[in-house]
């Protein structure tokens, strides 16, 4: 359509987005990588110091704690959200009365922002816990399960919608054929439905995986990392702090730790890229198989 020399239309069509993209992504991204090797307070006074920040990041107990906390959280939330969403989607496609109403209700929490959801659930959980004389800020188990419940409540509806679409895309003749061959209901589910649902399952798994991994707003509003426990050397370790929140706090709490915060952000970025590449790998493999 466009020849290479067609500069004018490049300017009209691409330039606005491209210019904004440089401001909003390309420049911040590369200078971010550079700064992770620097000691700096602001961008202008950065001093190159090599991999010092990375060494310090891996020695940062709070960062390591948040990393493991995030991993446990991610595994559990991914499994739970997908199980719930899959089951509900399955039931809703059976044609029970009120399916549309249920679908509407279950999807609703997705539209409310993380900060507001976190606040609402904080009030609810603390209201319940108060009856048992405790509080979210006192026990990391409550904070952990609170986050899990919050995420299930919010995300299950979203995944459910995708699963419903998946169920509807399975051709009806397949079921007919299976039935004629004398397959039982559970056989149809495991031998026909689930294999045909593989694309939806992959998508939902990776969506929940990245969402849970990058979680910030809900974490900030619900627990803000509390409770803290005094670790070795008197440093306080926050038990329900996830990676994103830990990086944010490292960054803005203390001017001297900015380089470390930026290095942690780069590590975080690498992890997320690995997850994304894994997704790409699985999607490709699936496409080849089909």
């Amino acid at each position: 359509m466009f020849k290479k020399r067609n500069r004018l239309f490049f300017l009209i069509f691409v330039l606005p987005t491209f210019a904004a993209f440089i401001i909003g992504f390309i420049y911040p991204f590369f200078s971010g990588i550079y700064l992770s090797f620097c000691k700096f307070r602001t961008v202008s006074n950065a001093q190159f110091i090599g991999i010092d920040n990375y060494i310090k990041a891996f020695q940062n107990e709070g960062f390591l704690q948040s990393f493991w906390f995030t991993c446990v959280f991610v595994v559990l939330s991914v499994v739970l959200i997908n199980l719930i969403a899959f089951a509900v989607a399955y039931i809703l496609t059976l044609g029970i009365r009120g399916s549309n109403v249920f679908r509407t209700v279950f999807f609703m929490p997705n539209l409310i922002g993380g900060i507001i959801l976190g606040y609402i659930w904080q009030q609810i959980f603390n209201g319940i816990l108060q009856k048992y004389s405790t509080n979210l800020a006192l026990n990391e188990t409550y904070g952990f399960w609170g986050l899990i419940i919050l995420m299930c409540w919010q995300q299950a509806g979203y995944m459910m919608i995708i699963y419903i679409a998946g169920f509807q895309s399975v051709p009806h003749d397949l079921y007919e054929a299976a039935r004629i061959d004398g397959a039982s209901k559970s056989q149809i589910l495991t031998k026909v439905t689930i294999p045909m649902m593989a694309p939806s399952i992959t998508i939902c798994t990776f969506l929940t995986l990245t969402n849970s991994f990058k979680l910030f707003d809900q974490n900030l509003a619900l627990t803000n990392g509390l409770p803290g426990v005094v670790g070795a050397g008197g440093t306080t370790i926050y038990k329900t702090e996830m990676i994103a929140l830990n990086i944010y706090k490292t960054f803005y709490a203390n001017q001297n730790s900015r380089g470390i915060g930026q290095a942690e952000a780069v590590i975080f970025f690498v992890i997320v890229v690995v997850i994304a590449l894994a997704q790409l790998y699985f999607t490709r493999k699936r496409e080849v198989q089909q």
């Binding site: 800020a137 005094v230 008197g234």
Partner: protein, 449 residues
């Protein structure tokens, strides 16, 4: 021999002279252009951007800024950081091109962090207005900060209810004069707690809420007490490693607060500053640890001057009968050195106007309830301030504010979390000690490393 010695001496002297000269040259180079620049700056072309620390006074500052703009046409923008986020807000704001021209540090520790951004105020008009040189925050010869408010805190008590207690038959302490050390305070609090129904209260102390809107009362202000006595004993004014000599006393007073309280210990984690304030205003509790800045909220809530009094915080140290209230400042104005000359000049004019003009001093004294250490200060109408004056007149020794030497916000948060856990019975006191003592050394090294 002799001549070589002489030569050596001469050389030494010369070297000394040169060093002194070089030093003087340095300080000239660094200090002089700044103050000159501020003088050459044109205030009418500049604007002021104040990053305010005190949420309670946010409205009053904005109103005062408006008045100043109306009077002079110079734009004054006031932004207030949410409770407990001043340091991070300032850090983020200083990254911006349009950075605050006027900000504050809490004392020497804060200054160490922000010195690069602080203008030398030695030649400023506002410095000359200070009543006492000790309110200037110095580093070497240069003055980087000026205290703009002197505050006092202690245990605010409800006079009316306390009198009811003194008059009752179960009271073993009969007057406020007898209430002058920790043992007496504990006796009073315990007896009030035991007879709370008879007195119509829910507890002796308001809830020691550990929500972030209220935990500074304990992790910072109350923690000042053991630090104060340790510094006093060791004859120092700051340290890179605290010993925690008086932490048992800290435990005693904290135990008292959370035991003789309006609510269960386990509820404290989510109680807010507003909860405690409401309890005190409603007469549900007799004691409320807070400071002079709380006066506005208390009177607005319906308490009268005659209901209010303030006691020193007794923690069971020998000779504390002569201890007064905690008085000091953690609020030092600093002018951003990296602002344009015009903005610097405008900012200096603004703060000078605040502490000299009738409008300014009236606003600071009446609307904000501040006692300001400046010559033209208007006398405060604040009853709690008067309590302090009475104490000083009675010969009590004020407790200085040493919490400004706490190593970092992270340290305070660490102590706060440990206190919360301890209060709820989830953690032991050792964790508080560890966060206090070990955490101090670690955080100090981090902040200064």
């Amino acid at each position: 021999m002799k001549s070589t010695t002489l030569k050596r001496l001469a050389a030494l002297g010369l070297a000394g002279l040169m060093t002194a000269g070089a030093l003087a040259g340095c300080s000239d180079n660094s200090a002089a252009p700044d103050s000159d620049a501020a003088k050459t700056g044109d205030a009418s072309k500049g604007s002021v951007y104040y990053l305010n620390f005190k949420p309670e006074q946010d409205k009053a500052w904005k109103a005062l800024a408006k008045k100043y703009t109306k009077e002079t046409g110079i734009d004054v923008k006031v932004e207030t950081a949410a409770e407990g986020t001043y340091e991070s807000t300032l850090t983020a704001a200083m990254d911006k091109d349009d950075a605050p021209t006027l900000f504050q540090v809490n004392g020497p520790v804060g200054l160490a962090n922000w010195k690069d951004y602080c203008m030398d105020l030695s030649d400023s008009d506002v410095l000359k207005q200070l009543t006492n040189d000790e309110f200037a925050l110095k580093d070497g010869d240069a003055t980087y900060g000026i205290a703009y408010v002197i505050e006092t805190y202690g245990i605010i008590y409800n006079k009316t209810i306390l009198q009811k207690y003194f008059d009752s038959d179960f009271a073993s302490v009969k007057s406020i004069e007898e209430l002058n050390n920790f043992d007496q305070l504990k006796k009073v609090a315990d007896e009030i707690q035991e007879n709370k129904d008879a007195l119509g209260v829910k507890g002796a102390f308001t809830s020691a809420g550990m929500d972030s809107s209220s935990d500074w009362r304990f992790k910072t202000h109350l923690a000042n007490m053991p630090i104060y006595y340790e510094y006093k004993e060791d004859g120092i004014s700051s340290t890179d490693a605290i010993k925690g000599t008086y932490l048992d006393n800290y435990k005693k007073i904290w135990d008292l607060y959370i035991t003789d309280s309006t609510c269960a210990k386990t509820d404290l984690a989510s109680k807010t500053g507003t909860d405690a304030e409401t309890e005190f205003i409603d007469g549900d509790a007799v004691f409320f640890q807070n400071g002079t800045w709380e006066y506005g909220a208390l009177t607005k809530g319906g308490l009268k001057d005659k209901d209010l009094g303030m006691l020193p915080i007794y923690i069971g140290v020998e000779g504390e009968e002569d201890q007064g209230l905690c008085t000091g400042s953690e609020n030092y104005w600093c002018v951003n050195n990296e602002a344009s000359d015009d903005d610097k000049a405008a900012t200096l004019d603004f703060i000078n106007w605040c502490v000299t003009s009738d409008t300014g001093t009236a606003a600071l004294a009446d609307d904000m309830g501040f006692v300001i250490p400046f010559k033209k200060a208007k006398e405060a109408t604040n009853k709690l301030v008067k309590c302090d004056a009475e104490m000083v007149d009675a010969g009590k020794t004020p407790v200085t504010w040493n919490f400004t030497t706490m190593p970092s916000e992270d340290w305070k948060n660490g102590v706060g979390t440990a206190l919360t856990q301890y209060a709820a019975g989830k953690g032991d006191w050792d964790a508080v000690v560890k966060a206090f003592v070990d955490g101090w050394a670690t955080e100090y090294a981090k902040a200064n490393g």
